[in-house]
């Protein structure tokens, strides 16, 4: 074995997987995991840990894999993360823990994410569950939103003995993990639900179908229902549109709608009632992870899919792995292309998209080269379905219904990065609701630090 190279991971063949919603990546077996684990040189001053927003003791758990004591490896991870099977799958490791792994200087970094996933999957399959805390202090705290930020904050607080209730607007807990990220990257029943069950096993109550700001307000939770502190982890779910003509035509969807229909409402499965429009020729506008997810979902539903993105391949914001998977699955890319108008037929349905070609001009303030239109480069893509994947922003519902809670001009709740402290006493916030759309692990990190600050706040109150 070449120690400079990762142990390769098994994946479903692209030709097969475009016809199902089963997981693409098949994970390591024990021998592969041990082989990969031995590549870790157990740094004394492990850089990888600093690259992980929840600071998992990476050499610690990898060491246990080498010893083939997977149960112990799980205990190590479990101290830091409530959702390892999820993070192992969806964390952008290449820009976090693995980016700084010493192995990566010469050769491939250690596959930390895939090892984490292996351990978490093994624990689940062997029914190893985190233990509920023995001491309870009876102090009630409310968590709003059950995405990674809320789940993490809830678990941390439960571990400290608090009486924790999560309020979730949708009918299933999990946030983007259940409504956004597709089944073939993150299986819902097999992976997400058991990790949420683990959080519940810590004594956390989850009340679904409660839209805070509508079904109940934060003020009422605190004044009438005796919650002493509140964490807001409501994410950034409001979809943006381009504002071009034809965008309201039949057959134009936001990525959120398309993915919600397929993931949360299970429209890909005929036995569920929620419909979804497949389309024959479909374009996804945008180049992020969400765009890749929408494109790969549509492909599996039977469409011929093209990604339309206004910069070049190098600027695609999606993870390299996702772009690679999308290409393998036969998704076309129209790069340096910008939509100008959606063409509509006489019945109100999409029939095409008028686009222009772009070229990269001067660098803007963020250091990215700004795309500029090439004159006389108009052309038409014939299509029947368009998915807009142009990013999302936080929903204004909470900030508009909570007294004294400040938000900025982007609608993000203003909160201290390190503690989640907001302008309202006893109210903390973190995750996408504060930062705008980011990542699962950053949301978890925010949930964790907010829990620490919340605990301190509540202990000070008792004094």
């Amino acid at each position: 074995m070449d120690v400079l190279k990762k142990v390769p991971i098994k994946e479903q063949d692209p030709g097969v997987r475009v016809r199902n919603f089963d997981e693409v990546c098949l994970g390591y077996d024990i021998d592969e995991a041990v082989a990969e684990a031995t590549r870790c040189i157990q740094c004394k001053n492990p850089k990888c840990v600093k690259g992980c927003p929840v600071a998992i003791d990476i050499p610690g758990f990898i060491h246990e894999i080498v010893n083939k004591d997977i149960s112990k490896a799980f205990q190590v991870i479990n101290k830091y993360s409530a959702l390892p099977a999820i993070c192992g799958r969806v964390c952008p490791q290449e820009s976090q823990c693995e980016q700084v792994c010493i192995r990566g200087i010469k050769g491939d970094p250690v596959s930390i994410g895939k090892l984490e996933r292996y351990v978490a999957d093994w624990a689940r399959e062997n029914n190893i569950r985190p233990e509920a805390p023995s001491k309870k202090n009876g102090i009630k705290v409310a968590i709003i939103g059950s995405g990674p930020a809320g789940l993490t904050c809830a678990r941390e607080m439960a571990e400290l003995g608090y009486d924790v209730t999560i309020f979730e607007a949708l009918h299933e807990p999990g946030g983007v993990l259940v409504y956004g990220i597709p089944e073939f990257r993150l299986p819902k029943e097999a992976v997400v639900r058991p990790e949420i069950e683990n959080v519940k096993a810590m004594g956390v109550k989850i009340e679904t179908n409660v839209i805070v700001g509508k079904s109940v307000t934060i003020d009422e939770l605190m004044d009438e229902e005796d919650f002493k502190a509140v964490f807001i982890g409501t994410g950034a779910g409001l979809p943006n549109f381009m504002g071009i003509p034809g965008e309201n035509a039949n057959g134009v969807f936001s990525a959120n709608e398309y993915l919600t229909r397929s993931n949360l409402m299970k429209a890909f499965d005929d036995s569920y009632d929620t419909p979804i429009i497949t389309g024959d020729k479909l374009a996804v506008v945008g180049g992020g992870n969400v765009a890749m997810d929408a494109a790969r979902t549509a492909k599996r539903l039977g469409a011929d899919v093209t990604i339309v993105y206004r910069r070049s391949e190098a600027e695609l914001p999606a993870r390299t792995e996702e772009v690679h998977h999308a290409k393998e699955e036969g998704i076309h890319f129209q790069l340096l292309t910008n939509p100008k108008e959606i063409l509509v037929d006489e019945n109100g349905w999409v029939k095409g998209m008028r686009c222009v070609r772009m070229e990269l001009g001067e660098e803007d303030r963020s250091g990215r080269r700004r795309p500029v239109e090439i004159e006389n480069s108009k052309f038409i893509l014939e299509l029947d379905t368009v998915i807009m994947s142009l990013g999302t922003s936080p929903n204004p519902l909470i900030s508009s219904t909570t007294k004294g809670l400040k938000s900025n001009k982007y609608g993000c709740i203003v909160a201290d990065e390190a503690t989640g402290v907001t302008s309202r006493e006893g109210v903390f916030a973190g995750g996408d609701a504060v930062t705008g759309a980011a990542t699962v692990i950053l949301a978890m990190g925010a949930g964790k630090s907010a829990a620490e600050a919340m605990d301190k706040y509540l202990r000070d109150l008792q004094k």
Binding site: F241, I277, L397
Partner: protein, 300 residues
């Protein structure tokens, strides 16, 4: 399912052919809802999220009343539920309160308001009518439907409205004609004056009412029922063109200034997933409502 609440059906009444009323246990919704808002329910494990207007509520009992027409697959399934059974999920209240509820009382007491209810749209008009009466304001109401059989909640409306005018397309009950003919009749023949019209019913009805009231120069509020998924502002399925802005009906609405709504676009969008049976029924329901024959209104 929520951990704390089971959404049991406590009452079921068949109001007309394929139109049902149900009271459902939902304490958090009942405690917070106001006229103009709606709920989303999911019947069972595999069901879709179905938006329905809050037709009434009992804060003490913790129940919410819904009225729905069993048209397509999902609404037909709802009709099969009986008292004692429970829906898997029931969430709300969603959307904004009716503009009337937010209006200052001096403003309201000076205003002469006409409600126009079309078919199953009588259900969302009812709580507003009731709210007006309970807060001491008078208002008139037109209920229109294809035929006598489809006139619902008449007695309840009569309890709260100052005057109720019934109109049916085939003349089997009340005046003969569509709601526009009734509006014209009230204004031209009966010399009524209205400052505000609230029209709720099929989109096509609301469209034509708005064309008329624009001519008449009467401000008109409509309640839009586009396709929705989450109902919380997350998917954009419910987007509408209002004037030159895009609005999400589930968070910005469902009520809008009817003279600003792009109804043609909204109607096209609404048909996106229509099933065959749903389409057929809708044609029956809406198809003939808008023939523009001369006014043949009879008096009540």
């Amino acid at each position: 399912m929520t951990d704390n609440h089971i959404h049991t059906i406590t009452k079921k009444v068949k109001l007309a052919d394929s139109i049902y009323l149900m009271d459902v246990k939902a304490p958090r919704v009942a405690a917070h809802c106001y006229p103009g808002q709606f709920i989303i329910l999911i019947a069972d494990e595999k069901g879709e999220r179905i938006p329905l207007t809050i037709c009434d509520y009992d804060r003490e009992e913790g129940t919410v009343t819904i009225v729905f027409q069993a048209l397509g697959g999902s609404t037909k399934l709802l009709a099969e539920y009986e008292v004692g059974e429970a829906f898997r999920d029931f969430t709300g209240p969603l959307g904004q309160r009716s503009e009337l509820v937010n209006m200052a009382s001096e403003e309201l007491s000076k205003m002469k308001i006409l409600f126009v209810a079309g078919g199953v749209g009588t259900a969302p008009v009812y709580p507003q009518m009731k709210w007006m009466k309970e807060n001491g304001y008078d208002a008139d109401c037109i209920i229109g439907a294809r035929n006598k059989e489809l006139i619902i909640l008449e007695d309840q409306m009569k309890e709260y409205a100052k005057n109720v005018f019934i109109t049916t397309d085939d003349g089997s009950y009340g005046m003969k004609g569509n709601v526009n003919e009734a509006i014209k009749h009230l204004i031209n023949e009966k010399k009524q004056h209205y400052d505000l019209i609230v029209a709720i019913g099929p989109m096509i009805m609301m469209k034509y009412v708005c064309i008329l009231t624009k001519e008449l120069g009467i401000r008109t509020i409509v309640s839009m029922n586009p396709i929705m998924v989450d109902g919380t502002g997350m998917c954009g399925a419910c987007r509408l063109t209002i004037g030159d802005e895009i609005k999400f009906a589930c968070v910005d609405g469902p009520e809008f200034d009817g003279h600003l709504v792009n109804f043609d676009e909204a109607m096209k969008r609404l048909s996106m997933y229509k099933t065959k049976e749903g389409k057929q029924k809708l044609r029956e329901r809406e198809g003939d409502t808008h023939h523009h024959k001369g006014c043949e209104c009879h008096n009540e």
